[in-house]
């Protein structure tokens, strides 16, 4: 016990003496939360539109006004040539083209079907889908309005189903509230897996392990002494990140923080074991970097930080059974946004406990063998 305390003491001196460590602990989370939460958003704010209005009638102008009045659209250019518009789309200076043919108003007055055309830049498929949906709803609204005006209430239109929607757990569909917990998960993982693996392999790279190995320090004492500081720092980081989230982004904290930190503690043991494992198969910090990057990127991309895991193919869902990030990503959102209690996340909790046990056993076994 005493020995572990001495190792811890030494570790903390080294960590706080390291010039890059303090910025990593304090500055990186602030930057990541502030920058990423704003940047990693799927909301469309400024859709740039090219309008080809060949009708130049009151009706067509009003349709264009509907778009420019919307907060999502900016009518960037107006012209008469579809070719010119296509050129702009190709150059990427506009996202969408609205083509209004010359007989637009005439057809409406003749009570015929009038047509408009939308050309959407679909390089980003998700964005294209959103642009289409937004545009469609604007045109449909306008179409409804024209129908009512033209009929002047003489003809009663067909009864329509009116739809009222309420968004639960995130009523304003605030994307930041969804993203912030996800980015916190990445932060905690980075510290737990990456920094602890780097720290362990540093002893090998610098040769200090040689001197440690001839001392009576036992392997388990060494591992605990090396990992515990990062376990503490990572939990601190989670608290720090939640505070920033609460103060600056007003994220809701519906569930129990104790439950969240309890889960995070187990989760950290799992990712630190992965870190320990990586450190046993590497001999330099560079190798650790490449290996951790591979694991981290895969884990992050599949964890459901941007896109729901449910919409991934079946095989991805199977892979995610072994992806600790996917569990924590789900749990942190459930606890913070939904207020889930222990029994709601018990499945994840037990899965994570099992994962941590297996990973730790594997890593320690491997560590004993090679070191």
């Amino acid at each position: 016990m005493k020995t572990i305390r001495y190792i811890l003491q030494k570790e903390f001196i080294q960590i706080f003496r390291n010039r890059t460590m303090l910025p990593i602990i304090f500055l990186v989370p602030i930057l990541q939360l502030v920058v990423l939460v704003h940047a990693a958003t799927l909301e469309m704010k400024k859709i740039e539109m090219f309008v080809v209005d060949n009708d130049l009638s009151g009706t067509s102008r009003e349709l264009v006004n509907k778009f420019s009045a919307s907060p999502f659209y900016v009518v960037e250019q107006v012209g008469f040539s579809v070719k010119e518009a296509e050129e702009s789309l190709k150059q990427g200076s506009v996202d969408v083209i609205l083509v209004i043919p010359s007989d637009f108003e005439k057809k409406l007055h003749k009570e015929e079907n009038a047509k408009v055309q939308l050309l959407v830049d679909a390089i980003n498929g998700a964005a294209a889908g959103l642009i289409y949906a937004y545009s469609h709803s604007i045109i449909a609204d306008y179409s409804n309005q024209i129908f009512l005006e033209l009929s002047r209430g003489l003809i009663r239109g067909p009864e329509t189903i009116s739809l009222t929607t309420t968004y639960w757990y995130n009523p304003d569909l605030n994307y930041k509230i969804y993203m912030l917990p996800g980015i916190l998960v990445i932060l905690v993982t980075l510290i737990g897996m990456f920094l602890s693996a780097l720290n362990l392999v540093r002893e090998k790279e610098m040769g200090t392990i040689e001197q440690i190995n001839v001392t009576p320090i036992r392997k388990y004492q060494f591992i605990i002494g090396k990992l515990l500081p990062f376990w503490i720092i990572a939990l601190f980081e989670l608290a720090f990140g939640l505070t920033i989230g609460k103060l600056f982004f007003h994220i809701p904290i519906e569930g129990s923080l104790l439950l969240l930190f309890g889960f995070a503690s187990v989760y950290l043991i799992a990712v630190m074991s992965i870190g320990l494992f990586i450190s046993t198969i590497s001999s330099t910090q560079q190798q650790v970097m490449f290996l951790s990057f591979f694991f981290l990127l895969t884990f992050i991309m599949m964890s459901g930080i941007f896109t729901p895991v449910e919409s991934m193919p079946d095989w991805a869902n199977y892979v995610n059974i072994a992806n600790p990030l996917a569990y924590f990503m789900r749990v942190i959102r459930m606890v913070l946004l939904k207020g889930s209690g222990f029994w709601d996340i018990s499945r994840e909790f037990f899965a994570m406990t099992g994962f941590a046990t297996i990973m730790l056993t594997l890593a320690v076994w491997r560590y004993r063998k090679v070191a």
Binding site: K2, T3, Y6, I7, K10, I13, Q14, R17, N18, M206, G207, T208, I209, E210, Q211, N213, V214, T215, P216, I217
Partner: protein
């Protein structure tokens, strides 16, 4: 009867196909200063790492202070101090923090064993708050020795402690070892510098994983049975080329501005005749003498004969 400090029987260790240590046996008595001399790659580090419980031998048995290095490795670790060839203390901890850390993990304190390291540590004391990574080479070496001694070990293993250290620091270092030996600490030290052999009680000459000879340095010199010639010259390279053409001459070895050589068995060369012959060939400032062998001549001779 107490157990010898180190007792090794038929230790071997292979890395892939290379035999780093090949059936080595020897014993070191308590309080002895034992040197393992050999060129780079001879297997010195591997042997020391086996004895310090860092490496498992493929075969053979070894005990340190009477304890088996495999089955009683925990016991051994308490009794030994080890200074690896590469500086392996924490560069981002200060001098004092390093010493304190190694004292505490052995369950002791600096003050408890201070008088053992005082001679060495007193040079470091003015810099005790400096980070270990910022020390000069000689200082680093003193700190490493202090850390290896702070738990009052019975045995000290030093792997090439003087490699990369200036000549004066080397002499100082050997003086320190002599003082430690007086306190009853057995010391096993490896070095590639043959001249350092003379500072040891006994030396083993190691080459390609095997011990060529183990003895007191004076006795090794005494065993030398050939006539040794030395030529002072300003052109050693040209002279060596020339001497090697002579069928009577066996081995030609450069020693700074001298060239040493031996003759084949039962052949004697008169120094005066050779000197004249060489002057006739255009060599200037030539002086041929018969000399007494030094320890380096003996090692060179041993290494030339053994591998065949």
């Amino acid at each position: 009867m107490t157990a010898p400090a180190v007792w090794v029987e038929n230790i071997s260790k292979k890395f892939d196909r290379v035999k780093a240590v090949d059936r080595v046996s020897f014993a070191v008595q308590k309080g002895e200063l034992f040197g393992i001399i050999g060129p780079d790659g001879a297997g010195k580090t591997t042997l020391i790492r086996i004895l310090t419980t860092l490496l498992l031998p493929d075969e053979g048995k070894a005990t340190v202070a009477g304890y088996d290095v495999i089955s009683s490795y925990k016991k051994v670790r308490h009794l030994i101090g080890y200074m690896p060839g590469r500086f392996s203390l924490y560069q981002d901890l200060s001098v004092e923090e390093n010493l304190e850390f190694y004292a505490t993990v052995f369950g002791t304190t600096i003050s408890e064993n201070y008088e053992l390291v005082r001679d060495i540590y007193k040079h470091l004391e003015p810099f005790k708050n400096r980070l270990a990574g910022k020390l000069s080479g000689g200082m680093k070496q003193k700190l490493a020795l202090s850390c290896a001694l702070i738990h009052k070990p019975e045995l000290l293993f030093l792997d090439e402690p003087t490699t990369g250290v200036d000549a004066i620091s080397r002499i100082e270092f050997w003086d320190m070892l002599k003082r430690l030996k007086k306190r009853g600490i057995s010391i096993i030290v490896s070095t590639p510098y043959m001249d350092e052999a003379l500072r040891c009680d006994r030396v083993a000459l190691m080459q390609e994983g095997r011990f060529l000879d183990i003895d007191e340095p004076e006795k090794i010199i005494g065993k030398y049975d050939k006539k040794l010639y030395s030529i002072h010259t300003t052109e050693p390279y040209l002279l060596m080329e020339n001497l090697r053409e002579n069928v009577d001459i066996q081995s030609v070895i450069p020693f700074g501005d001298h060239v040493h050589f031996t003759t084949r068995k039962d052949v004697e060369i008169d120094p005066g005749d050779l000197q004249e012959a060489l002057i006739a060939k255009g060599f200037k400032d030539i002086a041929v003498k018969i000399i007494k062998p030094g320890i380096e001549d003996c090692f060179m001779d041993l290494m030339n004969i053994e591998p065949q």
